[in-house]
Each structure stands twice: as structure tokens, then as C-alpha cells.
Subunit: 209 residues, 2 copies
């Protein structure tokens, strides 16, 4: 059984959104063998650092928290679309080229997956693409960028998706994953009352359902 | 496909080991709709808070970190053993009653799963039980307590298991899970250079491998 780990590694100098210092994780050693019998660490991290899931509250005032998502939504069939030819943004026309059906979970593999630093011009999902996915009634979407949108002052992409309870996964790494169908397992920490949660995401190269 | 979520919910007043205040997570709202266009939170948490995986460095000076575990070790067949009749500790004799084979991943369902507060007398794995599991060459073990041992000044249980690269999962919740065989998916955050990492764990009631 082939497993792809499509998560970002979490460490203090990792790439974070717009290189904002408050988004860098801090890992502190709280106990070690010089002073105690066990080694223990603490982490401080933004919910949107590394691979993570967004819930509606992230962009919609009064929106649902992570408790919106039942456990079944984290183990799903997913389609990886190869969009590595796109330079700027994913729009409706780009998506019409693919077989996207109701209840699909769609993962965008873009040129972002080959970039290790924060790219202020990362490929994002433009609002016409988001509207298309809402109309197709997909259940979730993931992207290999730390944001699913940029340069949209009204955040239409986030609001269209989250307003329709479509799960958003950000911060994926898909460079080594060929286009195709997989089982996606994306397990966020069980933090239920927040607008997002950090997650580990894997793809399994077989249909387990 | 039936999925059991066997993880602890992470929140500020959750049960933590020995009720130590430094082990309680802190969740801070850093941005909201009063001042910005997005709601964003930060969490500070001990690596051993809630459901988590221990690596050798936790108890062995110079031991391996979480990077020891390849991704394949997080998606495994697992056996849930019903040990709810045990009052104090799981020992070799208790385990000899079960079919435990090389490479198994064993999960202990004990009376701990029915206790919501921190129980200073939680059921633990005593060193003869740990030695038995090492001799059987299992690959991993999980328990429904925030520690796999207590009252062992030399921490033999942790050291026997971790010294033999047997993965330890602590903080499981198994009350609703019948004894039997499952697929265990336990995905820790991808924090590689630490002695442990918080995780989300699920059981799937079918063999996916």
C-alpha cells in the first residue's frame, strides 16, 4: 500500500503565510535529562501554520467552527488535478476541463508544490473557480499553498466555499503525487471550537471505501 | 464504513496528566471581525496533552525523535483488547490470555475509558507486560490513559517499549469500541524533531490493507 505524506513539516523556520513572524511555530523544551527523568516539549502555533483545515468562522462572522465537520469527512475519496501549467490563478475554465462531480474532494496540484519559500504570487483559486465548485456541490477542496486565495479584497473564494460548508485544506505538498484518484485522510487535531485546526494529511493509492 | 474517533477533545479545561497547569492548552484569538477580516487563533500545547505519540527521546537520553517513525507506521492493523476487568495494572499474565503476534499493534481498552477526570490510580502497563510485548516484537501499543505507566521510579515500561522502537500512543478514548480487529490511523502533526507529537486517532471497522 503506497502512502504519500502530503503535509508540511512543522519547525521553527518553516515557511509561513507572508512570512509573518506570528505564524512561525515556537517549540520549547520544558524538561530534559539534565534536570528530570523525561524530555518534554511545548509548541505554540497558529491554527493556519502548515497543513491545516479551515472552518467557516475563519472568514464568516458567526460561522461554524471545526465542530461542523463529522469524522467521516476526514476519510474520503479525492481527485488530484494536475494544474502545474497555471501561472496565476485557477478559474472556472481551467476546472471545466476535468470530471468534477457532486460530493467530490478536489486537490489542486500546482507549481506551488515545487516552491519551498513563501511565494507572494502563489497560484490560487479565483472566485469563478470557487463558484464553479460550489455549483458542482463538491464536499472539499485542497491546495498546495498556505492560502486558497490572494488579492481578493472581499475574500470571495473563502466565503463561497465556506458559506456552502465545503471543507478547505491548505498547505498541502503534492510535488511527488501523480494526477489521479486516491483515498485522502486528513486528520486535524481534535480542537472543535476554533476557526481552523492543524492537520496531518496523507494520500493512499487505493480506494479503501 | 464505520469510523470511531478515539481521540481526546482539546480545549482549555480538558483533563491533563496529574492536572498539571502547564499541560493545559491555551487557545488565543489573535484576529477577529471587530478588527480585521478574518478570525485567527493560536494554540499553545504540551506535546503530551491529549492523544499523542511518544518517541524514544521522551524517556531515553539521546533517543530518537518523532522522525523515527515512517509514515507507514501510522496506518496499521490493530487489535483492541478488552481489559476493563483490570483494576490496577496490566501484567504479563493478563496479556498471555490474548493472541498477540509479531508486528501487531495492540490497543488497551481499560476502565480508564469510562473516567473523564484525571484518575491518579489509572490502569497502566506494568513492566512484566511491557517485557512480554517486547518479546513478542509488536510494533506499537496504545492505551486509554495519559500515561502508559505510573508508580515505576525507573520508568521501565516506557524504556522497554521505546528502547525497542515500539511506538506508544497515549490518551486514547475507547469506551465505545468493542474488542476486535480494526485499521488504526493515528496521524501526529508532522513535528519531526521532538520527543512526542499530538495526534488524531481513528479506528476503521474494516481491513483496508
Amino acid at each position: 500500500m503506497k502512502i504519500y505524506d502530503i503535509s508540511m513539516t512543522i519547525h521553527e523556520t518553516m515557511t509561513v503565510y507572508k512570512n509573518k513572524p506570528e505564524k512561525k511555530p515556537k517549540i520549547t523544551n520544558r524538561s530534559n535529562f539534565q534536570t528530570a527523568q523525561a524530555y518534554e516539549s511545548t509548541i505554540t502555533m497558529d491554527m493556519h501554520t502548515g497543513t491545516h483545515i479551515d472552518a467557516p468562522l475563519h472568514m464568516i462572522e458567526g460561522g461554524e467552527t471545526m465542530s461542523l465537520y463529522s469524522i467521516e469527512r476526514f476519510v474520503v475519496k479525492a481527485k488530484v488535478l494536475d494544474l502545474t501549467h497555471i501561472e496565476e490563478a485557477i478559474n472556472q475554465k481551467d476546472l471545466e476541463a476535468f470530471d468534477i462531480q457532486e460530493n467530490d474532494f478536489i486537490l489542486f496540484k500546482t507549481r506551488n508544490s515545487s516552491v519551498e519559500v513563501f511565494d507572494f504570487n502563489f497560484v490560487y483559486l479565483e472566485k469563478s473557480g470557487a463558484k464553479f465548485l460550489v455549483d458542482r456541490k463538491i464536499q472539499g477542496v485542497g491546495i498546495d499553498a498556505l492560502g486558497i486565495e490572494r488579492n481578493q479584497p472581499n475574500h470571495e473564494t473563502h466565503k463561497l466555499l465556506l458559506g456552502n460548508q465545503i471543507m478547505i485544506v491548505e498547505g498541502l505538498r503534492l510535488k511527488d503525487v501523480p494526477e489521479g484518484e486516491y483515498t485522502l485522510i486528513v486528520l486535524p487535531l481534535k480542537i472543535l471550537e476554533t476557526e481552523a485546526a492543524p492537520a496531518r494529511a496523507i494520500l493512499i493509492q487505493q480506494d479503501i471505501m
